[in-house]
Amino acid sequence: MKNKKLLSLPYLIWMIGFTVIPLILILWYGFVDSTGAFTWDNILAIFRSEHLKPLGISLALSAASTVLCLLIGYPLALILRKAHIKKSGLIIFVFILPMWMNFLLRTYAWLNLLDDGGLILNIAQALGFRGNIVGTNGAILLGMVYNYLPFMILPLHNSISAIDDNVLNAARDLGANETQVNTRVILPLSVPGIISGVTMVFVPSLTTFVISDILGGRKVLLIGNIIEQEFSTASNWNLGSGLSLILMVFILISMAILNRYDKEGSTLA
């Protein structure tokens, strides 16, 4: 018994040192002002328009990128299920491959494609497009979908490919056509995969500041950028922490909603 407890010690230290203490620090900074006196100001600051607007854009963009990733990823996962095992391995490999490269480099590569003199902008201009791509919400959305798509595909693939063929055959035996098999059998059974995919795309999209920094031309501020700048350029840790807490609330809410569906999914399975 004693040995078992000892084994968990490294994890305990890890969790306390790198999760619990930092969280307490953020809580502390979030609820005091620069003199150390208690205040609600850092939390209520979210209601100021210069913070509400970035939060709104962040929520909208991360919701959009999650939906897009799901729309792209789900059919792919269905195809992968039907594909030969060797072939599906290759396809997954191709989708994962870019993740071996640094995330920043890939985003800078997109900047080069979309910015002045970039291949994509040149083609767009040849087709009559006027204006800039970099610095728009669209460019940021593209960056999010590109960077986070593998995080959607993998859990979807895992849950869909794990469905037993016999289950589907039983459905067909009982008279279900292919559409019904997909919507009434595969879809409910893949809910856990959808949930974890959605979480893994939505949460990093909501908190990102690098993608918007690079592809947004610093014109578009997401809530992540605001928080990052409070810590770096403005050196106002109190406000930065307060806004981080608000963001955490949004993440917790989304997790809670998703978890409810997840439970239903599990009982169905």
């Binding site: 328009s49 210069e50 003199g117 031309g217 610093r218 014109k219 605001i226 350029t233 106002n236």
Partner: protein, 349 residues
């Protein structure tokens, strides 16, 4: 002088250069120098070492803010440092620097009077702490192929004609400076109604701006598709070399003028060597050589005889005193005022 990506790379390279071992006979004299990345012609370091038999330990930083806490923790860490003027002010106030004895600098006279005066007026009375090294202004870099009118006012940055083709600085003070000068205010103004007026002006500009930039302004202007960009004058010669269509204008409403310069730390253990270093760099021919390499304007008047006539006559690099009459230096406004700037800046985007 702003951070450059290359600075990091250079830092590593230089650090490895700096560990060339001495012969180990008797204790060799050393000098610990802390400078911006890419901010010296490295040949000069070798020449200095050879001439005086002093080992130079040379390190670089990318931002003033990165340098400051290290010196605050231990001001004997380096002997000579080259910060920007506003950071010198802070270091002065916090007692991290020692006064400089001008009589120990035989080349002190090489520095132009007007440069010393403005520094003395704003931050360093009687030039007791800072020996100016490079200086410059903030202005508009424009592409003559895309802009065929004369550029002489910040107002052009609000011209609908150039919508989507304007690059603004992303740092708070620099962005506000443009609006403040355009409206005729001081760039050290802290009056809330004035600041709100500036923020409103910047909000009107927002839809016309292509992106808010820091160092990328160089590359984006060189690429040639952008009409106007707010930039540090020191970057201009480099940009011109890369793209001859570019020109620099210092707006008539005035601008920010900035300085970087050498200071000696309070607890320096190699003060004599530090004087030798500063004096060495103040030599006219060395200053000229250095200018050739880093292309940031030098306040060393004597160096001008070694500099190309063409560059000397370029008012972008060496503006006349008349052009500088509306220019001001940033002074530290205190945390409360800086916060107000920043809060308003967030409402712009």
């Amino acid at each position: 002088m702003k951070k450059r990506i290359l600075a990091v790379v250079l830092c590593v390279l230089l650090a490895s250069l700096a560990v060339v071992p001495g012969c180990g006979k008797e204790e060799k004299k050393v000098l610990k120098v802390y400078n911006w990345g890419e901010y010296i012609d490295e040949d000069l370091i070798a020449e200095f070492e050879k001439e005086y038999g002093i080992d130079v330990i040379y390190d670089t930083f990318a931002t003033n803010e990165e340098m400051y806490p290290r010196i605050e923790a231990d001001s004997s860490l380096y002997d000579v440092i080259c910060p920007s003027e506003y950071m010198v002010e802070k270091m002065m106030k916090n007692g991290l620097l020692q006064e400089i004895d001008h009589t120990k600098l035989s080349n002190w006279k090489n520095i132009g009077e007007s440069y010393l005066k403005i520094l003395s007026d704003y931050i360093d009375p009687d030039n007791k702490y800072l020996v100016p090294y490079c200086w410059g202004t903030v202005g508009i870099l424009y592409n003559t192929k895309l802009v065929d009118e004369e550029v002489d006012s910040w107002g052009i940055l609000w011209d609908e004609k150039y919508a989507g083709s304007i690059l603004m600085q992303d740092s708070v003070r620099d962005a506000f400076m443009v609006a403040q000068k355009y409206l005729g205010y001081s760039l050290n103004d802290t009056d809330q109604t004035h600041l709100e007026e500036c923020a409103e002006l910047l909000r009107q500009q927002y839809p016309l701006v292509k992106s808010y930039v820091i160092d990328e302004v160089r590359d984006k202007m060189i690429a040639g598709n952008t009409a106007l960009g707010v930039i540090y004058s020191g970057e201009y010669l480099y940009c011109l070399e890369m793209n001859e269509d570019l020109a620099y204008a210092l707006p008539k409403e005035g601008s920010n003028v900035w300085y970087d310069g050498w200071v000696i730390t309070k607890n320096s253990k190699n003060v004599e060597e530090a004087y030798l270093w500063i004096d060495f760099l103040l030599r006219a021919e060395n200053a000229a050589k250095n200018f050739d390499y880093i292309t940031y304007p030098t306040p060393n008047v004597a160096a001008r005889e070694f500099i190309d006539e063409e560059i000397l006559n370029d008012q972008a690099v060496f503006p006349e005193d008349e052009q500088l009459k509306n220019c001001e230096m940033y002074i530290y406004l205190g945390q409360e005022a800086e916060n107000r700037y920043y809060e308003l800046w967030k409402t712009v985007k």
